[in-house]
């Protein structure tokens, strides 16, 4: 009973303490556990199953664009990490160093990969000789390590799981095309599968990836009004190629440098799902990513025929391709409801003797708690339609929330007021000077999230900070 009780104890409400609410959800929905290694988490079955669904869907989309999977070593020799100046400056302060192998000190210390650009470059330098070898579109699924000081489950941990794509191209145009293709793939995945609307844009030079010419990003808004950088795609131009000497002979037999990209998404997305869709009863999972889409809960399950009928409905749904489980444990229906809600299972199906007599069952949506009575003969099609409806409604609600939390500001005072009093994205004009960006961050803790793609009406013609002429529209916000 101890365990059941913990599950359905009330969690901290979002309003009271959003950070504590988040921690309560990740623990009580049994997504993670803390480990003996500070800053590293154990991803439990309910959490890992979400990651497996993310992997499967992303991997399928990658492969449709010609990406192939590979695996690089997890160690990077110090000399290799140091080959690209900006890159090493960005990562060296936060890597874990291996200094001993077995009982012996290593001749050269190795860092545990924080990201694998240097390894891919080292590989491409040998693997690419001719224009016929291009493009190379490789990806790997792996874990990486960054020795962060402050850690939070999924959002920032010393080790996390991700995919990192690394491509090599003949021309700058091909590299730019791939960079944007992957950013758009990420954005579509977030919106279509995770029901998370995103702003697509470009990072400022200050915020771009160490060693990149350009970093593109998708930015999502969490329920508390803070932004979450949810995926990035980098165009390296030929910077790494020059540092690593990666050249190919073109059709005219001339040596050319390759152009490269990299792009990644991580278990951080699970943090995003929690903070966009969750509520005070726990997790709310979009049907397309939910490991269990329907939980069948028999009522008065000891009465004759109930368990049998409920099991039959489960089989019907399973045969229709729906991910379904039945909770026939000895817990009370009330406990089971609370557990199913905490775990974010999109639909609860209740079935008791009276329902059976009426040849119906009750479907309860996790997102709205709305109940509908469903004829047993229509159960598979009704549930399938309801799952689609939930998916669409969740996206629409998240988008409405995001759109109602965007504040346009012109003056510096407005900016400061907005950061303090209006949680969400702030849109303001920027002159392009890094000094203004730094000042805004120092004064308000808000950072530039991105310069959004597409044409946007100018909010003003001067910089929100220095009042000099400005043409760039920027999304600002506090961020995870």
């Amino acid at each position: 009973m101890g365990k059941d009780k913990k599950l359905v104890e009330a969690i901290t409400s979002m309003e009271t303490d959003f950070a504590q609410w988040y921690t309560d959800v990740v623990k009580k929905a049994e997504l993670i556990d803390y480990s003996s290694v500070k800053g590293c988490m154990v991803i439990k079955p309910a959490g890992y199953a979400i990651w497996e669904n993310i992997q499967q869907e992303l991997d399928r989309r990658f492969k449709e664009t010609g990406v192939e999977n590979v695996y690089m070593p997890m160690f990077i020799p110090e000399s290799l990490l140091q080959k690209e100046k900006d890159h090493v400056e960005g990562f060296a302060p936060e890597v874990a160093w291996v200094t001993h192998g077995g009982l012996n000190p290593l001749q050269e210390r190795l860092c545990v990969r924080p990201t694998s650009e240097t390894l891919f470059c080292d590989f491409y330098a040998n693997d690419i000789q001719s224009y016929r070898d291009l493009p190379k579109c490789y990806n790997q699924w792996c874990s990486v390590v960054r020795w962060e000081k402050e850690t939070r489950p999924f959002l920032r941990s010393r080790e996390f799981l991700w995919q990192e794509g690394h491509t090599a191209h003949a021309t700058a145009e091909d590299a730019e095309e791939r960079t944007l293709m992957m950013l758009n793939l990420y954005a579509d995945f977030c919106e279509e599968v995770l029901a998370i609307p995103v702003i697509r844009g470009r990072k400022t030079d200050k915020e771009k990836f160490a060693g990149a010419e350009a970093t593109y990003t998708i930015e999502a808004l969490m329920h508390d009004g803070k932004a979450l950088q949810s995926g990035t795609s980098h165009n390296f131009g030929d910077g790494f190629a020059k540092a690593f000497g990666i050249q190919y002979t073109d059709k005219d037999n001339k040596l050319q440098y390759i152009h490269q990209t990299s792009w990644g998404m991580s278990t951080r997305l699970i943090g995003g799902i929690i903070m966009v869709h969750g509520d005070d009863s726990g997790l709310v999972l979009p049907p397309k990513i939910a490991p269990v889409q329907v939980m069948v809960i028999p009522i008065q399950q000891h009465k004759e025929g109930v368990l049998e009928k409920a099991g039959g409905l489960k089989d019907t749904l399973k045969a229709a391709g729906i991910r379904v489980k039945m909770d026939d444990s000895e817990k009370s229906p009330g406990w089971k409801f609370a557990e199913q809600e905490m775990r974010g299972i999109p639909i609860r199906m209740e079935l008791g003797p009276k329902d059976i007599e009426a040849r119906t069952c009750v479907l309860v949506r996790r997102d709205t708690r709305e109940k509908t009575v469903c004829a047993l003969e229509d159960v598979a099609s009704t549930v399938a339609t309801l799952l689609d409806t939930i998916q669409n409604d969740m996206f629409a609600r998240a988008k409405a929330h995001r759109d109602s939390h965007i504040t346009d500001v012109v003056s510096y005072q407005e900016l400061k007021d907005a950061v303090e009093h209006k949680p969400g994205f702030i849109r303001a004009m920027w002159c392009g000077d890094e000094a203004c960006e730094l000042k805004i961050k120092e004064d308000t803790t808000a950072t530039s999230r991105c310069l959004p793609f597409g044409d946007h009406e100018a909010i003003s013609d001067v910089c929100v900070c220095c009042q000099k002429p400005a043409h760039k529209l920027v999304y600002w916000g506090k961020a995870y």
Copy 2:
């Protein structure tokens, strides 16, 4: 041309130098590349795609038995590694140590997991309280590090990919049942999917896993007559539970120690596939694991209609669920044939103007090089049947080879002669004394592979080494 040329250059023949043949195949079939990190390899797309197929099929079989996937940290604090005495003795000499995080020395050094028993124990100690929490059947897919001195691609590398299952049970019987269930799952997988026949058995105490009560193994025979330990399953009894204090309250409210198992298979399997099925033209992949099952090679592809027809056949096969590619590059058919053979693609489909006129195509088996003419209208069913035939024939050939390389010996002189002159498994009686096992290893380099399951006729009633009474039949052999 440089690249094409390298591919179809003759490789070292097996007879001349088996080790060099192996290295040639892994490189020229483009499975791996060496990296700047000594002892760590880059797994290239053709190699990683085999691993993905292995993962997918094993993972499906695991889940059918109730296994759930999780993810544990890659680091183990030194104090945690040391909690189980035998285990730390077995692994501490060959682990990589992280001593610095960012710019600061760590208070306690961390090893990069060589295996994760200690992490799972640490987790279970918190996670398991009651009999209702049992069993726990968890698995993770990850990479592990063992600082080996001698390394060979797939067979022994400092970092390798694997899965490690870790289960917790209420009773010794439940743990033993799970240990054997997973060993049998591994054996069936090897035989049904990889077409590799295996001997199932138990390791001697000397050869068992550090910290295990019993280790079960599947042993396969490579083409050169050496054994490859291909998967192991360990029963830990309550040894780790006592070292880590993992107890649960049973139905009578009494504290009991849990009983544990672990089991693993790795990228080493890819080395096994190469050495069981490969030949002097390169890799030969069993159809069920081959990333590409059929390569369509158009002949005189510039003649009108050839590419179109070949493309149509490719689409027909694809629609029938067959993994198919077409090589319409500018290389000559001869180059393409050699490449397809080097990569081990099970079937080559040749189609030229004369074939089209005759409404046929030519199918060439990779394993036997046998050619058959196939009516175009039957292509999907003929190819599907041929893939099954190849799979079955490959298993039968590997089994015949294995069975014809088992030598029964009674005297010590026979044993020594057999190790020297008859590559393969040697069966001999053993008294059970570790001293005899050690002497055999020292005198012959052969090791005990396993005590096979089931009833076996006694070869003799005395130990092959000491001539004392013996009841145990043992498979011996040189091993990778």
